[in-house]
């Protein structure tokens, strides 16, 4: 019986060395290249995906620990790029080079899954693991707050 993993709603067998981090399985085996390699040590957040809805650094997560888990990558965050965070990112015009942004969005989505109305301090605390060298932080803060407001409207 081979082990399997669900990525963006589709089940795949795990057929790579078991110590391979999830990042490389996603990028090179499944060719979901939206998830990025930045540091390989869980220090920069560029590789952030959701494991069962929680933001996780895929570059330090061995694939063997992922059997039976549900993974969501940036490609699977929404059907039509209409997640409140994606809409806010577009509205605010967050990205510069854009390389870290999938990780930023997935990390923020993880935050909003657990706390739908974060304070600005909570946003900063949750996002401090994600580095952006272009310096889009001011816009990230604004976009996350905007998405949280949007979610609050959807709920009420």
């Amino acid at each position: 019986m081979s082990k399997s993993i669900t990525v963006n709603g589709v089940k795949y067998p795990i057929d790579v060395p078991e110590d391979m981090p999830l990042l490389w399985f996603l990028r090179e085996r499944l060719e979901f290249t939206g998830t990025k390699f930045g540091c390989g040590k869980g220090l920069c957040g560029a590789c952030t995906v959701h494991v069962d809805g929680n933001a996780t650094r895929s570059c330090v997560m061995p694939i063997s620990a992922m059997a039976g888990r549900e993974i969501t990558t940036i490609e699977g965050l929404s059907e039509n790029a209409d997640h409140p965070l994606q809409k806010a990112w577009l509205e605010v015009g967050v990205p510069q080079c854009g390389y870290c942004q999938a990780g930023q969005i997935m990390n923020a989505a993880g935050l909003l899954n657990n706390n739908s109305s974060p304070s600005s301090e909570e946003i900063e605390a949750a996002m401090q693991g994600n580095i952006c060298r272009c310096g889009t932080y001011q816009r990230i803060k604004k976009a996350v707050a905007m998405a949280a407001d949007e979610l609050a409207k959807e709920v009420s």
Partner: protein
């Protein structure tokens, strides 16, 4: 590889790449010649393609082929879709939105129908694509406007022919040509094929700046939609059939050598197929030399590298130690050094002075650390080489690979991918040359991805530097003399190894500084390079901005006035008429930053508001930085950045560049320093080479001077005034003067 997973992956990938694939240009474009100013041709699928060739330099007054620099390609399809190729490299600075928007504005086209594509590396078609020095907008603005204007005139001519009507009675608006007397309209798509047969205007009429629709507006980047879905593909994301993956470890010391290699354990790693020695290539952007491991995935390749047993012969640079080297730099600026430039009589001014003041400023090495580490895919075949790379300079890739492979430049095909950050690092194509070396050795396409550790340890470093500034003040507190002595290993050592001190071209920015002190001398102290030195976003302006900005604050204190008063006094005393414009524009941004920040207002204890101004890359930026002490640490609360870059092309992108400059300014002011010991870098990743994070980000307010002067670039100039303004703020907040970067609070 089991068939079921292959088809599953393929199906999923097709879903996700469908929109990207439809964006590919499928039109067959007739090759354009370089003879005329603008060249038009019909698209095979109907429509028009306009290639623009404009004189690169007007000064020669000739029209020889060498004077022509093709700058833009505009593809208008019969369905109205408009594709503009962006010849300059995109790395997040927004050039692939800014320049195409200029074309579209002049063309009176609708941005909603526009698609931007990154041009392949082709110096004959696009002119130099080497993207650096904040030069793209400065050099391409007028050619792009002319291209758009020419296309518009041809579309009007086409409509006039169809109706028929007098072209003078027709005008273009929002993707249509309109016949004024009757109100008849024809869409750009309908007109494209006919426009392609119209004569190309040699001197198209440009719009008045008051009629600009996109230029000067807040235009979203053309690719944000792709980015938020993870569909924007960078060099590191390239996938080609038959590709293998590689990782590399370099000799940690410049010009060291491989002494011994045991690859047996590496070869045992599952997936590893080969170990390849990559030789040092002694050209400016060639490999440092190292050992690569090839595998069927990147993880195995990286594991393989970790299992290599290597001994290096560290060679002549094996004793490089940045702590003792910095002491040497400081020593070399505290004693007379080689004269670089002089005007007036510095000693005379110093002898007559009421007061003199001197200070020494230092900064350590920096590494660029773009979020996307160096990566490229290269496939070397007998007489050709295909490259997919995040790069700032396809020109250099072609030139280095043609030398390395012994093939013609034309046979090095460079697909320019958006870079996940560049900051000067991706100007240098050592990582591409290495991928070529590996591909040549194993015979398959190779994707080489550097680890963050290699990116940190074996980069091209921003010079570490020491500067000593000495100035004299007269009794009225006017600066009368200025002696500026510098010592730093220079970028020139990449091109001329063995240069012992920074040469005149690296010191020229001091001489042309708009302070323009009448009695002035610059001197360059000994500073041989023991590592690779390279351009880092804003280059010399980082440390020259720091010394000028902090020293102005120190002079103000000596003269008993505030910093803005002191700076204005220095500018007003500049007697060099040729610098009148620089003086006026520097003063204007200074005043704007002071006003917007409330400079001079009383602040609570433990807070400070510092200000600095710097002119670099032909752009003027003043920054006011507000800090608050938090025990021994500090936080930057707010930054007001005042900018004069002439006509702003895209306010959104221009604002983003200032926000980014503040962020990078905080990183280098507070955290970043590369240290060497025994010839090698001692740090490796973001845990021991930290950069600023979201918790450090202040409010940034950007203020543009309204101007229709020729536009200049913004990728770098915002970097210069931040660190000195911060240092000045900290002095006010804590009473402690910081003259070294990074600042240890």
């Amino acid at each position: 590889m089991r068939p079921e997973i292959e088809s599953l992956i393929k199906e999923e990938r097709n879903k996700h790449t469908a929109s990207a694939a439809s964006n590919e240009n499928k039109t067959d474009i007739t090759a354009l010649t370089r003879r005329s100013f603008l060249k038009v041709s019909a698209l095979a699928t109907g429509g028009m393609c306009l290639g623009v060739t404009l004189p690169a330099a007007k000064s020669h007054g000739k029209t020889a082929a060498a004077d022509f620099s093709p700058n833009a390609f505009i593809y208008l399809e019969s369905n109205g879709n408009l594709m503009v190729k962006s010849g300059r490299c995109e790395m997040g600075q927004g050039i692939s939105t800014a320049l195409p928007s200029v074309v579209v504005d002049e063309m009176e086209a609708n941005w909603d129908y526009v698609r931007v594509e990154q041009a392949e590396g082709d110096i004959d078609k696009y002119g130099s694509q080497a993207t650096g020095g904040s030069a793209s907008i400065r050099t391409q603005y007028i050619p792009m406007r002319k291209a758009g204007a020419a296309a518009k005139e041809m579309l009007i001519a086409a409509a006039a022919k169809v109706w028929p009507a007098d072209p003078k009675d027709c005008y273009a608006e929002n993707h249509f040509v309109i016949h004024k007397p009757t109100g008849k309209k024809l869409g750009y798509g309908e007109l494209a094929s006919i426009a392609a047969t119209m004569p190309v205007p040699e001197e198209p009429t440009l719009k008045s700046s008051k009629d600009f629709k996109y230029i000067g507006s807040y235009l979203p980047r053309h690719d944000v939609g792709m980015v938020i879905q993870g569909k924007r593909t960078y060099g590191v994301d390239t996938i080609v059939p038959g590709m293998q993956y590689a990782a590399i470890v370099h000799c940690p010391v410049l010009d060291g050598k491989l002494k011994s290699l045991d690859k047996s354990e590496a070869m045992k790693v599952e997936g590893v197929t080969a170990v390849v020695e990559v030789d040092r290539m002694k050209v400016p952007f060639g490999s440092l030399g190292g050992v690569a491991v090839v595998a069927n995935n990147s993880w195995s390749a990286q594991q393989g590298v970790d299992k290599l047993k290597i001994e290096w012969d560290r060679g002549a640079n094996g004793s490089y130690d940045t702590d003792s080297y910095m002491q040497m730099l400081v020593d070399n600026v505290t004693q007379p050094a080689e004269k670089m430039a002089e005007r007036g009589n510095v000693e005379g001014a110093f002898n007559k002075a009421a007061k003199t003041l001197s200070a020494v400023y230092t900064q350590g090495h920096l590494v660029h650390s773009p979020m996307e580490p160096n990566a490229s895919v290269v496939h070397v075949q007998d007489d050709r080489c295909d490259v997919w790379a995040s790069t700032q300079s396809p020109d250099d890739i072609q030139s280095v690979l043609s030398q390395f492979l012994g093939i013609d430049k034309k046979n090095v095909h460079v697909n320019v991918m958006i870079a996940g950050g560049g900051f000067g690092r991706k100007f240098k194509c050592d990582y591409v040359q290495e991928a070529a070396a590996i591909s040549k050795a194993v015979g398959t396409p190779i994707k080489l991805i550097w680890t963050r550790e290699e990116d940190t340890r074996t980069g091209y470093y921003h010079s570490n530097s020491a500067q000593r500034v000495e100035a004299s003040l007269d009794e009225d507190g006017n600066v009368t003399g200025w002696l500026h002595r510098i010592a730093f290993p220079s970028i020139n050592t990449l091109f001329t190894p063995g240069i012992e001190r920074a040469p005149a071209n690296a010191v020229a920015d001091l001489e042309s500084h708009p302070f323009g002190i009448s009695n002035y001398r610059s001197e360059s102290g000994k500073a041989p390079a023991h590592t690779r030195i390279g351009w880092y976003r804003a280059v010399y302006a980082i440390f020259y901005g720091f010394s000028h900005g902090v020293f102005a604050d120190e002079l103000a204190e000596q003269a008993g006035v505030d910093t803005v008063t002191m700076l204005n006094r220095i500018y007003d005393n500049n007697e060099n008429k040729a610098q009148a414009e620089q003086v006026a524009r520097s003063k204007a941004v200074l005043e704007l930053a002071a006003k917007k920040s409330g400079f001079g207002k009383p602040l609570p204890k433990g807070e400070g508001l510092g200000i600095a101004v710097h002119y670099s890359f032909q752009t003027y930026v003043a920054m006011a930085v507000h800090v608050r002490m938090k025990g021994d640490d500090f936080e930057v609360v707010r930054v007001d950045s005042a900018v004069d870059c002439g006509q702003v092309l895209n306010k959104d992108g221009a604002t983003a560049q200032q926000e980014g400059a503040v962020a990078m300014g905080i990183s280098l002011s507070k955290y970043c320093e590369i240290k060497f010991k025994d010839g090698a870098v001692v740090t490796s990743n973001f845990h021991d080479y930290p950069v600023m994070r979201i918790t450090d980000m202040p409010e940034v307010h950007v203020h543009f001077v309204e101007s229709d002067a020729s536009p200049t670039g913004l990728g770098e100039p915002g970097m210069a005034p931040f660190a000195p303004a911060l240092s000045n703020a900290l002095y006010q907040a804590s009473g402690k003067r910081h003259r070294s970067l990074p600042i240890k609070a």
